[in-house]
Amino acid sequence: MTDTDTPIQVLDAGERRRDERRRFMQLAGGATLAMGLAACGGSSSSSPTPTPTSTGTATPTPTASSTVALDVDYLNFALQLQYLEAQYFAWATTGAGVAASLLTGTGTQGTVTGGAQVTFSTALLGQYAREIAAGELAHLGFLRSATGAAAAAQPALDISSSATGGFTRIARAGGLIGASDTFDPYASELNFLLGAFMIQDVVVSAYRGAIPAITNLLYVNAAADMLATKSYHAAMIRSQLYALGTAARTATDQLSNGRDSFDGVTDIDQGVSGADSTVSNVTPTDSNGIVFGRTTGQALNVLYTNHAAVVGGGFFPNGIISTYFASSDAN
């Protein structure tokens, strides 16, 4: 079977993941954590079927034989992004964060900076926001359950309008606001939608990029189901912004450019403005109608708001608690 546009990206992802894993193991003195993760991954690794899952002896040996990552590592990566989404929508819709019992786990638990309730004067928008908030909370519970004892704690999150936080950094990078302005995603319905836009699309692209590397079909299927849900959410956000008219559409184009400035030279991000006034661009796709994907490293470039290989920043001041904790250096 031939393919035209995706293998390069997938292969690149594999290369970067190997690098990231190696760095992590070296930096974290990984033995303990590696064993802990491997123990959880054992449900598939000790399967009688010859599934190519890493075994409990996953060592930081940078050889080709270590290229198959533990599925639980990807689930924990997804869990880290999930804390960000769940907290943003929880704060915006209720004025309070996620219950403390859903934030514990391995690694150094962090706190949330920022977060505020949005005043929804448009009834429909409030209904959509509450639906998304419930969906994100459900995903958080699901991922914590799926990772079990290996679930990583919530990392430090910055969902405020601070100059170093993700919202302001992306808004500045895209020229939506001035270089010394700040962006408050809770100040208005439009700002809330733009804040959601900044996060949601990135998570969709990260899922699309990461799922093919998962080996256990149960996890593949569950992650595909979550990808679908997150795509619905993203389209709800994007179509609301499109319907608001030219100013909101232009704002998304600017934020898209901001994201693109972090994740590499290739334009894999799109705002909602169409090619002309007769067509929308709610779905960010290539010419084949296929939604774009990002490697874990590229997703972190955007979320850390840094085009270089770093281990924190933006929405995650101290980085995420994950094997795949570093952004890509390929940009």
Binding site: M1, T4, Q127, Y232, T283
Partner: protein, 327 residues
């Protein structure tokens, strides 16, 4: 929905044994199994599940062609509705018995936003057809089958609408007559495409193909959200749009098996005194639903039994995957 209601759509005279191949890809099994994995971690139960889950029972090329057949349906619906013409003839050739897409026509959109969304979706689906045809290759891609997009009383749209009691039994439902009807027609198709790709994620073994199909899955989910949120929003002024979508969902659930609720309408629920929309058809775990290929065909053939043609595909599908599940 009663048993009688499904008879309205299509008789269920023949009910051969459910094919074990199709049954093994039932995705609700995976949903249930996944919970077991999480709870037991490395328990024996999880091992057995992993074994079953690893058993891909449909070849990648066959699944790819199954999805291509579905894309012909979606792409032609949007193409005709937006432009009044179908896909280029060069995009319809291939293995199997070539058929025509009949009965569709251009919609005169009144809401410019609906027109702009429809045009975007039409472009994306034409892209999906082109991608899958290229990927499957000139010797492997299947031809467009006969597709019924008409609005007569015996057409698939009308029969589905009648089954949902949106129109009377034997009545007609013209999906090209208005923005609202077009959206309901899109609702009938688009959600099913999302579930088909979710289901396919359990069988595809080629990682490159899987990556692309995930991108198409995401695309369809974006589209479905646009359609569902438009119906939801227009349902403020026209409540029947929400209830009609709910009824269509109910019919799909009857067609694809009574054991599990894998389909949802859009009407809101009230949580802590606040209305909450239901744009995303997901379970309590936030996971969007999927269908096996057989369940997908139950819906599109408008038949809860194991058959090889009907509904939108009057002559069945081209390719190896063409039989609905016996429910």
């Amino acid at each position: 929905m009663s048993t009688d209601d499904q008879q309205l759509i299509e008789g269920t005279a023949s009910r051969p044994e459910a094919d074990s191949t199709l049954r093994s890809e039932r995705r609700e099994f995976f949903r249930a199994a996944f919970g077991a994995v999480a709870v037991t971690a490395a328990g024996a139960g999880a091992l057995a599940i992993a074994t079953s889950a690893s058993a891909a029972t449909i070849a990648d090329n066959d699944m790819g062609n199954f999805l291509l057949q579905l894309e012909y349906l979606g792409a032609q619906y949007y193409s005709y509705a937006v432009t009044g013409a179908g896909l280029p003839a060069a995009q319809l050739t291939g293995v199997g018995t070539a058929g025509a897409a009949t009965g569709a026509r251009q919609v005169t959109f009144t809401d410019p936003l609906v027109a702009q969304y429809a045009k975007e979706i039409a472009q994306d689906l034409a892209g999906h057809v082109a991608y899958l045809r290229t990927t499957l290759g000139t010797d492997g891609a299947t031809a467009q089958p006969a597709i019924d997009l008409g609005v007569t009383a015996t057409g698939a749209f009308s029969k589905l609408a009648a089954g949902a009691t949106i129109v009377a039994t034997g009545g007609t439902f013209d999906v090209y007559a208005s923005d609202e009807n077009f959206l309901l027609g899109a609702f009938m198709i688009e959600d099913v495409l999302v579930t088909a790709y979710n289901g396919a994620s359990t069988t595809i073994t080629d990682k490159t193909l899987l990556s692309a199909l995930l991108g198409i899955l995401s695309s369809h989910a974006h589209h479905a959200a646009v359609i569902r949120s438009l119906l939801y929003a227009k349902g403020v002024a026209t409540p029947a749009l929400r209830t009609n979508a709910d009824k269509i969902s109910d019919v799909r659930d009857v067609l694809d098996g009574t054991g599990t609720d894998v389909d949802q309408g859009i009407s809101p629920t009230t949580v802590s005194g606040n209305l909450v929309s239901n744009i995303v058809p997901a379970g309590a775990d936030g996971l969007a639903y999927g269908r096996s290929s057989g369940q997908v065909l139950n819906v599109l053939y408008l038949n809860s039994a194991a058959v090889s043609a009907g509904g939108f595909f009057t002559a069945g599908l081209n390719g190896a995957v063409k039989t609905s599940t016996a429910n």
